[in-house]
């Protein structure tokens, strides 16, 4: 700890703390523009300059580390003049015309800073040089006239997302924010995660879906989690008059630390399908609007027509539903109605093998996302982290430039290949064969930390079985096994014991990316059987705002009576006999168990229309119509089975 004096206030902070953070920790405000708590300090805007006693010139507090007995002044005339001067220069550089800017009036950090310094005008006039506006991107508009060149977006794109799309071309006054090598943003390598928009202090990067829908500062913010995949990112949902304005990443969220992907940020902004607004019941061959009483009665009658304690009732639920709903679903159809044909839309595809392995060994064997952040070598094993579970992909991509070694083993092209220190593409053989050859290579290199029956001498034979040369495996083995904290990322729940053995050999943590937001919870509730409508007389599908596969839509057609609980109209609802309107994910709360066992609560951000119920509410209503009472016992149910990850 070192002692510093800021504005005659003595404070103690750990060594290495910057002056800015030290001041903030003791409640002293220093204005900033290029600073962002999640990004490496840059020192470009110079707004945070302070007077450090003994220093020749003013010092940027964001990059200046404290030293013992340092004396700092943040409010001298010299500092105040400097701030005003910096702002004067910024306003003279490009075209900051507040009356017609989306962020003016609270959301603009530049404008707020100017107000704080009492700037009534611009002492130096801009020269009205126009700068390019890039509106080629489906979600993001890049408005260089409002750019202050603070590089927050550039740093976010590189440091947080690992994508390195944004950068600067030219230098000096010609410096210009560009995508890639100066191509249109819409044609660039941008993956539309929108982190750049979230960090932009001005209106230079705006998101076209939320622009002019309301100010962040005036919106209602609900802190919740994204249910787009099993990562479970923390998000802030901004609404105005119960309408969605935008979704931001929650900087304080433990799981994602503020980054979210295109799916999380923009998917909900486009309501692409027809909403089901009232319950529907099929009468005389056609679906007709009905009251909830009529619909619940019709559903109950339908269920009663099937035999209890058999496979005659097929019940399927989406893994986008909270645990509370999964539990109610299981109690009603499994416990009360005794259906033996109970599963999720995923049918346990992403969790079945991990769950089995955990049960066999009697303990959790998977690691945590935090391990990934600390990893010094990563093996991506057949996982596509670019189209789904993107945030896990971000963690991987951003680790590589920081020195983490990356090995990609896949049978097909993997988007991470181009970043990898080594990419293995086995031409033939199974994944076990590849892992065996890799094991032999690890042994041959003397990097094995655990035991194996595989011998170094087997390498050539094992390698040729996969159609690759031994050298390839030696290179690959070195990349992953030379790390002290290796992490293996796998997908699809394809987790043969071989992966666990290999992980033990190199002392690696395994992280398996699962399916939807509550895949793991469904697995804990043992909702993981294969889907089978053959013997079914009644199908009850809790679809919510999920999509059904074409196969399922086809299979379910033959079931005589179909009850679908859904948010949007689809082929499934069109064929149903009873349709119960359901909330979408933003309109309901509940608990979710993410891929590494974090139990998190989602909160309702939008109040649904009166005619719409959550799936849990309508399941409860249905249960009571059938004469059952459902218990609130989901927490216990989650624990009834050994999980592949430690639950938190």
């Amino acid at each position: 700890m070192v002692t510093v004096t800021i504005d005659s206030k003595q404070i103690e902070v750990p060594e290495g703390t910057t002056v800015l953070r030290a001041a903030q920790s003791s409640g002293i405000h220093i204005p900033t523009l290029c600073d962002h708590p999640k990004l490496t300090p840059y020192g470009g805007c110079r707004l945070c300059l302070v007077e450090v006693e003994g220093a020749r010139t003013l010092q940027p507090s964001c990059t200046m580390p404290v030293s013992n007995n340092m004396v700092i002044h943040t409010d001298t005339q010299k500092v105040l003049d400097a701030r005003k001067f910096v702002l004067t220069l910024i306003f003279s550089e490009r075209n900051h015309f507040c009356p017609y800017c989306q962020v003016s009036g609270g959301d603009c950090e530049l404008q707020n800073s100017a107000y704080d310094e009492g700037m009534t005008h611009w002492p130096l006039s801009p020269n009205f040089q126009p700068y390019p506006v890039d509106a080629s991107h489906p979600y993001i508009i890049m408005e260089n006239n409002r750019c202050i060149l603070c590089r927050r977006c550039v740093r976010a794109c590189g440091e947080l997302v690992g994508n390195y799309t944004l950068g600067f071309e030219e230098r000096g006054a010609k410096s210009l924010l560009v995508a890639d090598t100066g191509v249109a943003l819409g044609e660039s390598t941008c993956i539309s995660c929108g982190t750049c928009v979230q960090v932009c202090p001005t209106g230079a990067l705006i998101d076209r879906w939320s622009a002019y829908h309301g100010h962040d500062t005036q919106a209602d913010t609900t802190q919740t989690i994204c249910v787009g995949c099993s990562v479970g990112c923390g998000i802030d949902v901004l609404t105005r008059d119960n309408n969605l304005v935008k979704i931001n990443g929650n900087w304080d969220a433990e799981i994602n630390g503020g980054v979210i992907c295109k799916l999380g940020r923009f998917d909900a902004m486009e309501e692409k399908c027809d909403r089901i607004a009232t319950p529907l019941v099929r009468k005389d061959g056609a679906l007709k609007a009905a009251t909830w009483e009529e619909a619940i009665a019709a559903a109950a009658n339908g269920l009663k027509s099937a035999g209890m304690n058999s496979a005659e009732i097929a019940a399927v639920i989406s893994t986008r539903q909270p645990v509370e709903t999964l539990s109610a679903f299981k109690q009603l159809f499994g416990g009360k109605l005794g259906s033996t044909n109970l599963t999720t839309l995923e049918e346990g595809e992403f969790t079945r093998s991990t769950a089995k392995l955990a049960e066999e060994s009697g303990k959790a064997f998977e690691g945590k996302l935090a391990d990934l952040k600390a990893a010094d070598s990563i093996l991506v094993l057949g996982a596509d982290l670019v189209s789904y579970h993107e945030v896990v992909g971000f963690f991987t991509k951003r680790a590589v430039p920081a020195g983490t070694k990356l090995l990609v083993v896949d049978t097909k092209e993997n988007e991470l290949d181009r970043l990898a220190n080594k990419a293995l593409k086995a031409g033939k053989g199974s994944i076990e064969d590849t892992l065996n050859a890799l094991t032999a290579a690890v042994v041959k290199l003397g990097l094995a930390k655990g035991k194996t029956a595989v011998k170094a001498g087997d390498l050539d034979a094992l390698a040729s079985k996969t159609g690759l040369k031994s050298e390839e495996y030696l290179d690959a083995a070195f990349v992953i096994a030379s790390g002290e904290k290796p992490v293996i990322l796998v997908e699809n729940g394809v987790l043969p014991a071989a992966i666990a053995d290999f992980a033990e050999l190199i002392d690696a943590r395994i992280i398996s990316v699962k399916g939807n937001a509550n895949s793991l919870a469904a697995s804990q509730l043992k909702l993981e059987n294969p889907l089978n409508f053959k013997a079914s007389k009644v199908a009850f599908i809790v679809l919510g705002d999920d999509d059904a596969s074409q196969k399922m839509i086809k299979d379910v057609e033959k079931v005589p009576f179909k009850i679908v609980q859904a948010t949007y109209a689809s082929a499934l609802t069109a064929n149903a006999d009873v349709v119960l309107p359901s909330t979408n994910w933003l309109e309901q709360g509940g608990h979710y168990l993410n891929l590494d066992g974090h139990l998190q609560q989602a909160h309702r951000a939008i109040t649904p229309a009166e005619e719409i119920m959550t799936a849990e509410e309508s399941l409860t209503a249905l249960a009571s119509k059938l004469g059952f009472t459902l218990e609130n016992s989901w927490e216990k149910e989650l624990q009834q089975r050994v999980s592949s990850v430690v639950l938190e």
């Binding site: 075209n95 015309f97 507040c98 009356p99 800017c101 009492g118 005008h121 006039s125 009205f128």
Partner: protein, 180 residues
């Protein structure tokens, strides 16, 4: 000392700032008690007294030779010059045309605009003022008080006038300070 003399005029703007001035409703009476309102676009007298006034208020930016003349005349006849509203302070919405050439802007307005038929042509009467790049007031003449806002609130304008009438230079900050 008698009541301070105040003159106002508008340049390249939308008159919204003067509307906002009128928006102070019954407080106008108070202002008229405190100050002697001389010329103004909303009164009969159109030019500030040659003998000079105490406070000159200008709305709008400067976009042609006529504006420039008005601004320079106001400056030469007043002691304290107030730039009222975003256009006077920054150039405002009219300054958007600075991103195009004057020729392009005129063609857009008089020839290509959706409301113009094929007879549309750029006015070329030599009597007309010569258009120029749109400037903030301070680019052309020194300004003493800046009151930004699009428009500034009636409360702010009342405060500014009341302060000036009582011989003080108003300080625009806090809630009174906004650029939109």
């Amino acid at each position: 000392m008698g009541k301070p003399k105040v003159s106002t005029d508008w340049l390249a703007g939308c008159a919204g700032c003067h509307m906002s001035l009128l928006d102070m409703d019954e407080r106008l009476a108070t202002v008229l008690e405190l100050a002697d309102l001389r010329s103004s676009p909303i009164t009969d007298l159109k030019e500030p007294d040659e003998s000079g006034v105490d406070v000159g208020i200008l709305e709008g930016g400067i976009n042609n030779s006529a504006n420039k003349e008005v601004a320079e005349r106001m400056r030469s006849r007043c002691k304290i010059l107030v730039a009222l509203g975003d256009c006077a302070v920054f150039g405002g919405v009219p300054a958007m045309r600075n991103f195009f050439t004057i020729e392009e802007s005129l063609r857009r307005a008089y020839v290509e605009a959706e409301s113009v038929d094929e007879s549309g042509k750029i006015p070329d009467d030599p009597e007309l003022a010569v258009p120029m790049k749109v400037h903030a007031l301070q680019d052309i003449v020194p300004v003493d008080v800046f009151v930004p806002g699009c428009p500034p609130d009636a409360d702010t304008i009342f405060y500014v006038l009341a302060e000036l009438a009582q011989g003080r230079i108003p300080e625009i900050k806090g809630d009174k300070l906004h650029w939109h």
